[in-house]
């Protein structure tokens, strides 16, 4: 006998979290059979290229310039700008990550020890906005009024160094905590599945030799010290899937 009675209650005061792609779930009763809802799976929503969702055009250019110094292009591998890291960060800031959704946001907000972790009252989107303003202000102050994007690479590196060591002041933000976030977000965009807007054409995966979303290495567990022969694939695509002419 199948008794499947999932009470679908309207979401009220209780906390129901939206994940990146799935609908919120509601309290339910399960008995007699596994609950099974056709079409309930939640694949990720792919990032579609196009205008910035969160950054202003000027901010977008600044972020592209910053990430391209954090992971610079070289003859061997892509830089973060071409890999799409700024697009990745933009879409993340426009979504739940940017709003600090799911994090604990009750006050009082007190700066504690390093071991107690970041305690900012500002969400990541607001921190980025303030930081980008501060980065241009700092660049202007140290380099004849020029914004970050107009600096020579070495000067850009010096400004990034000032974020890293915490000496570049950002209003209401612990600069070192912002740096930790910026560095993480850049690497995430570089190495995440291309479905999130970075790691374009799986360039970063190809560069280090990571096969991506392949899910079965049964044939390679015994092939010790031998190069893995297959190109990477992603959740939504594989660079191999192209007309011969465009390869």
């Amino acid at each position: 006998m199948l008794i499947l009675n999932r009470r679908r209650l309207l979401s009220g005061t209780a906390l129901v979290l939206f994940t990146a792609s799935s609908a919120p779930s509601r309290a339910g009763t399960i008995a007699g059979a596994l609950p099974w809802a056709p079409g309930a799976a939640a694949p990720p929503r792919p990032v579609v290229p196009g205008p910035w969702h969160f950054f202003t055009p000027a901010e977008g250019r600044t972020v592209e310039a910053i990430v391209d110094r954090i992971i610079p292009p070289d003859p061997d591998g892509p830089g973060a700008r071409d890999a799409g890291c700024a697009v990745f960060i933009d879409r993340q800031l426009a979504g739940p990550f940017g709003r600090a959704e799911g994090l604990y946001d009750h006050g009082p907000f007190v700066t504690g020890t390093k071991q107690q972790g970041p305690q900012s009252r500002l969400d990541p989107a607001t921190q980025y906005r303030g930081a980008l303003r501060a980065i241009d202000a700092y660049s202007a102050q140290h380099h004849d009024g020029r914004p970050f994007v107009d600096l020579a690479a070495a000067d850009q590196d010096a400004v990034i160094g000032a974020i890293e060591d915490g000496s570049l002041p950002i209003e209401d933000v612990v600069t070192k905590d912002f740096w930790t976030m910026l560095l993480k977000n850049t690497r995430q965009g570089f190495f995440a599945d291309p479905v999130y807007g970075g790691n374009r054409d799986m360039a970063a995966w190809k560069w280090i030799g990571f096969p991506g979303a392949r899910y079965d290495y049964s044939d390679w567990i015994d092939r010790h010290n031998e190069p893995y022969p297959h190109a990477p694939i992603g959740i939504a695509e594989a660079p191999l899937w192209r007309p011969a002419a465009s390869k």
Binding site: S11, G12, A14, L15, V16, L17, A20, S25, R26, A27, G28, T29, I30, G32, A33, P35, A37, A41, A42, P44, I70, I71, P72, D74, D76, G77, F97, G102, L103, Y104, D105, V110, G112, T113, K114, Q115, Q116, G117, P118, Q119, D157, I160, E164, R187, F191, A192, D193, W205, W207, I208, R214, Y215, D216, Y217, S218, W220, D222, H224, E226, I235
Partner: protein, 591 residues
């Protein structure tokens, strides 16, 4: 508040312990309801192989985990500090949803060493009482390895654990862990195949006189049908294991071992997305009458029940006791109370080894959550601590679980964290280095100043006080970590590494630094109500129709992952409830 029809048993939490108890008690003919604060989860819907391999979604954005907005804790290193809230997770991760931590664990499946269950007695007999550092509050468990052995066996056969026996009924077996306690029969399935790095580690360790063996694993080495009739498929070494659900039905979890049978059991009902707020006590405070839970509408309901089981995982078990007024909260200054006392975690350390890319290619992405070759020569009391001046130990091994590049791009210490030099180092070392996040899995013994209580300032979303964690490392653990990490690094060097960077555990406990999710203690078991919260059957001393099940019962944490011991304790308690308690409900041990 509306009252629901009476049930025989109310279970709080439907992870590993809750699933085992629900299955056993509904099989015994009881009417069982289980409450789970998170959603129902299954493979096809939540992590099918088409999109399970997504490092960003599951590893970075924590899709399958509890979010701090739902519930968090405050944290400080010592009682002189003001605790601050953990706003985002770091040092440990917490399950949320059916399957609990069992859904996204590695499935490294260790038994504890027999002497662990008599730790205080054992160390005192061997080294003298003075050898135990001041402030360390280790104690015996009140249950022995021999009593638990049949229940260890039952959990391993539920999971299909892959491994090589080291001690069969007292006879040491080649290729297994010679230090393990006697087991009544071999592992249900043979050990997993091993990758290059683990194989090199085992060879080097053997040549140095150590005794390597494959890590016991809940990632299947072959198809396996468990005693409940549920079948798991072979692991494909996908490298998206811990922090992820398995899209292949290859990792032992409640989903792949119990739930398909449990939901069909007459008398079993689950409520998902329903969070239990408290255990309800009668006027005398000596009997639980049920639980109060809140649904996603914010509506509170009362579920009356004869028997209440806390299966909510360590910190939530302790928190439920505190918020329900069961027992007295530990106060270190007054030296009173036991709820929250002897809270522990793990002392993890590691070393990264770099090899010549021209001769070494590890393919780190070919891995599983519980793969690897280990040694146990420096765990528990398997070595003489006398000259070393510390107690405790840990297993160590090449147990690298992945080559997921957001997490795993090792570079030599001192490399800049960005720019051309970082980039060149990533490329150079990605395929020619080995990095096991928890290569050295050290114990964390209990102390009088490491504990849980309620925070005076910060509140949860219902306006109740958050639980406060006070936790730091002590000199004993620092010494142990330095010693173990040195031994580990020696083996990595003998593997042929051109460079080894040691990462022993130093300094203060840092809540942003991941250290396993093995929170233990706070509602510990024991022979005496004066030093424990539950008796040897995990039954509350104060409220005999309440059982508090899980690693919250550990008086201290050993140098192993906890869950096989948690599974054994759960079956041990199930056995006591079915064969003793139901016949004569009341205290199973007289205080």
């Amino acid at each position: 508040m509306r009252k629901l029809p009476h049930k025989d048993v109310a279970i709080i939490g439907l992870g590993w312990t809750g699933s085992i108890m629900a299955h056993g008690l509904s099989e015994a003919g009881l009417d069982v309801i289980a409450f789970e604060r998170g959603p129902w989860r299954d493979t096809a819907q939540d992590f099918p192989p088409t999109y399970a391999p997504d490092e960003y979604r599951y590893r970075v954005r924590h899709e399958l985990f509890l979010r701090p907005a739902q519930m968090t804790f405050t944290f400080r290193n010592n009682p002189s500090q003001t605790a601050l809230p953990i706003r985002d997770w770091g040092a440990f991760m917490l399950g949320n949803g059916v399957g609990g931590g069992g859904l996204h664990w590695n499935a490294e499946m260790w038994r504890f060493e027999p002497s662990q269950f008599m730790l205080k007695t054992h160390l005192t007999e061997r080294y003298g009482a003075k050898f135990i550092p001041a402030g360390m509050t280790i104690q015996d468990w009140g249950v022995t390895y021999d009593e638990l052995e049949p229940h260890y066996d039952r959990f391993e056969y539920l999971c299909g654990t892959a491994g090589t026996a080291g001690n069969l009924r007292g006879a040491i077996q080649p290729g297994g862990n010679p230090f393990e306690g006697p087991r009544s029969r071999p592992y249900p399935t043979p050990a997993q195949k091993q990758p290059f790095n683990a194989t090199l580690f085992a060879k080097a360790a053997r040549e140095m006189g150590h005794q390597p063996f494959p890590q016991p694993s809940g990632n299947m080495s072959q198809p396996y049908t468990n005693p409940l009739g549920v079948t798991l498929g072979p692991c494909t070494f996908c490298g998206y294991c811990e922090w992820f659900g398995c899209g292949n039905y290859s990792k032992a979890s409640p989903q792949t071992t119990i739930l398909p049978v449990l939901v069909k059991q007459p008398g079993f009902t689950a409520r998902d997305n329903c969070e239990v707020l408290r255990i309800v006590l009668d006027a005398g405070g000596k009997r639980a009458t049920g639980v109060v839970f809140v649904d996603t509408d914010g509506e509170e309901w009362e579920q009356p029940a004869d028997l209440v089981l806390c299966c909510a995982f360590t910190p939530f078990n302790v928190q439920l006791l505190m918020l329900s007024g069961v027992g007295e909260i530990y106060d270190p200054a007054a030296k009173r109370g036991n709820v929250g006392r002897n809270f522990t975690h793990q002392t993890v350390s590691t070393a990264t080894a770099f090899f010549d890319p021209a001769t070494h290619r590890f393919n780190p992405f070919v891995a599983s959550g519980a793969i690897g070759m280990c040694i146990d020569d420096f765990n528990g009391d398997n070595f003489d601590h006398g000259p070393l001046g510390f107690v405790g130990g840990g297993y160590m091994g090449q147990v690298q679980t992945n080559g997921r590049p957001i997490e795993t791009t090792p570079v030599p210490a001192g490399t800049p964290t960005w720019g051309a030099k970082w980039k060149a180092a990533v490329k150079q070392n990605y395929n020619s280095s080995v990095y096991s996040g928890s290569g050295v899995h050290g114990s964390f013994y209990s102390y009088d100043d490491v504990f849980l209580d309620l925070d005076p300032t910060y509140k949860d979303r219902f306006g109740r006080p958050l639980m406060r964690m006070t936790i730091d490392f002590h000199e004993n653990e620092h010494k142990m970590s330095a010693f173990l990490t040195d031994r580990y690094a020696e083996i990595l060097r003998a593997m042929g590494a051109t460079r080894v960077d040691k990462l022993p555990r130093t300094g203060h406990y840092d809540v942003t630094d991941y250290q396993t999710s093995h929170l233990c203690g706070g509602a510990v078991m024991g022979a005496e109500p004066s030093t424990s919260v539950v008796n040897r059957y995990q039954q509350s001393w104060d409220v005999p129709n309440l059982f508090v099940i899980g690693a919250s019962s550990f008086p201290q944490n050993a140098g192993y992952n906890p869950t096989t011991t948690v599974g054994a304790l759960t079956y041990w308690t199930l056995d006591a409830i079915v064969n003793q308690y139901l016949k004569a409900p009341g205290p199973l041990v007289q205080a």
